[in-house]
Amino acid sequence: MVGAIVAFGLRGWSGPTLVFVAVVLSGAMAGALRRMALFALATIPLVISILLVNTFLYPNARDAIVTVGPLSPTWTGATAALQATLRVVAFGLSAAVFALTTPIDDLLTELERCGLGRRGAFVVAAALGAIPRTVERSREVVDAQRARALDTEGRPWRRLKGLVPLVGPVVFGALGEVEERTMALEARAFTAPGRRTLLRRLPDSGRQRLSRWALLIGSICLVAASLAGAVKLP
């Protein structure tokens, strides 16, 4: 959140640069740099369009780099483009760092501690847990139907006909399990009233908490000051 505020709120270069550096550093510390690079790749389409639009079409810019027919990319435009790109990438990577360094179990525990409620936490966790299981089951269904000579490698029309025998068992199987799973949950007192006991405890010293609040308040003040013109940043 702080990253978003600073990356977009501050005028000029310092905001996004700061965030970018901070994010890359924390990513490096967490050993998540390679995966972060993948996230960065995802921003490429947006980045390209920003660069193109700003470089070529920045309003009222006169300092052309080169003129080729009707096209005249400008330095002002290019600068603006780079700045915007940096903002987007900084923001994206800060989200990435968060996602990659927070184990889902810890995240859910914290949310529940803050009042999410057992059902909410369970739904998220169970949905995530269901993914590998569903993938596994789909694979088995495909195998079972192929063993009955279902053609999964032929022409598209034939493969389309095979959709129901492939999707049906996965869906029916999942639905059929619902009753048993619900009973299994109730057999473990899931519907008991009151707050659930949380076993996991995230280490959260007073100092961490203090620095979190300081960071948040500080960044808001900084952005406000920058917008008001009271502070001039590069």
Binding site: R137, E140, V141, D143, A144, Q145, R146, A147, R148, A149, L150, D151, T152, E153, G154, V164, P165, V167, G168, P169, F172, G173, G176
Partner: protein, 309 residues
């Protein structure tokens, strides 16, 4: 303990199709069309090893030959490689090392859809395949994929349902049947394909006594027709009584292979127990009484009679 099965089945004579259209003379040279009228092929695993993409080794240098018409049971603890092994026969899995041969021909280039016309595999969990709204439609699916139509199709469906005792439920929704009858339905849907090789993965788990009886009958009938029948099972009694050859697997290897007499005989018990299996009770009783190898009730009774008479 590596003697092959006692009575290898005889390949069907040309023209006596295994339930396929009687008119077509099977072409043994045409590798492209291995239709239902083909003769029963021999099966060979040639030093087959298989590892899953994540590295788990499921099979280690398995070499096994199954003659046409044999009835073979594959036993072993969960994770010993039984299911992995049989999935190589219809192409769902391909060996990482080694070859799988049907009638001496490597099956690697043949698509699963084609191999399924030769090798029918009934899965352990029926719910992995049920999608039709009616029992009859479910059974039709397999043969229909094999291009069977019309009267031939109707006849096959009727016969298959009859065989598993579901003839009266042809119009029922499969999910209105209990688990064990759904399992019989899954069996019927493979029987209707009339494949020369029939593989059953745990056909008796979850079945009551009547269901087990139906499965036995189906196995006996298929064997009687000269088809190769392979079953994976935990039920040692079913294995000893319905199959002429038992293959014991442990950690991806074949550790015992022979007739029930040999595999359940006293000399093999150490190996059986190492594979986490127990011999069936008649074998244990026979050994205790010094009667030799008696893997089935009938064998024990016969041995007692010989002793008494």
């Amino acid at each position: 303990m590596t003697a092959p099965g006692s009575t290898p089945g005889v390949p069907l004579a040309a023209g006596s199709a295994v339930g396929g259209p009687a008119a077509a003379a099977p072409s043994t040279t045409d590798s492209a069309v291995l239709g239902p009228a083909a003769r029963v092929p021999s099966i060979e695993f040639e030093a087959v090893s298989f590892a899953y993409p994540d590295g788990t080794r499921a099979l280690s240098e398995v070499s096994l030959r199954i003659e046409p018409g044999e009835s073979v049971a594959i036993v072993g603890q969960n994770g010993s490689g039984k299911s992995t092994l049989v999935r190589h026969l219809n192409g769902l899995l391909r060996p990482t090392v080694g070859r799988v041969l049907l009638d001496g021909r490597d099956v690697r280039p043949i698509h699963v859809a084609r191999l399924s016309g030769l090798v029918g595999l009934a899965f352990q969990d029926p719910d992995r395949q049920l999608f039709a709204g009616r029992v009859a439609a479910e059974v039709e699916f397999g043969p229909r994929n094999l291009r069977i139509r019309g009267r031939e199709l109707a006849e096959r469906v009727r016969a298959a349902l009859e065989e598993v005792g579901l003839a009266a439920d042809a119009g029922t929704n499969p999910y209105d049947l209990g688990y064990s009858r759904r399992k019989l339905l899954a069996l019927a849907s493979i029987l209707a394909m009339r494949t020369p090789v029939l593989i059953l993965d745990e056909p008796t788990t979850g079945q009551d006594a009547r269901g087990v009886a139906r499965v036995r009958e189906a196995v006996a009938r298929a064997s009687g027709e000269g088809r190769t029948v392979i079953a994976i099972s935990h039920d040692m009694r079913f294995v000893a009584e319905s199959f002429r050859r038992v293959v014991v697997m442990r950690q991806g290897r074949v550790v015992l292979d022979g007739a029930p007499d040999g595999v359940f005989g006293g000399a093999a018990w150490a190996e059986l127990r190492a594979a986490n299996l127990e011999p069936p009770l008649p074998a244990v009783a026979g050994a205790r009484l010094g009667l030799g190898s008696t893997p089935t009730d009938a064998a024990l009774v016969a041995a007692l009679k010989r002793g008494a008479g």
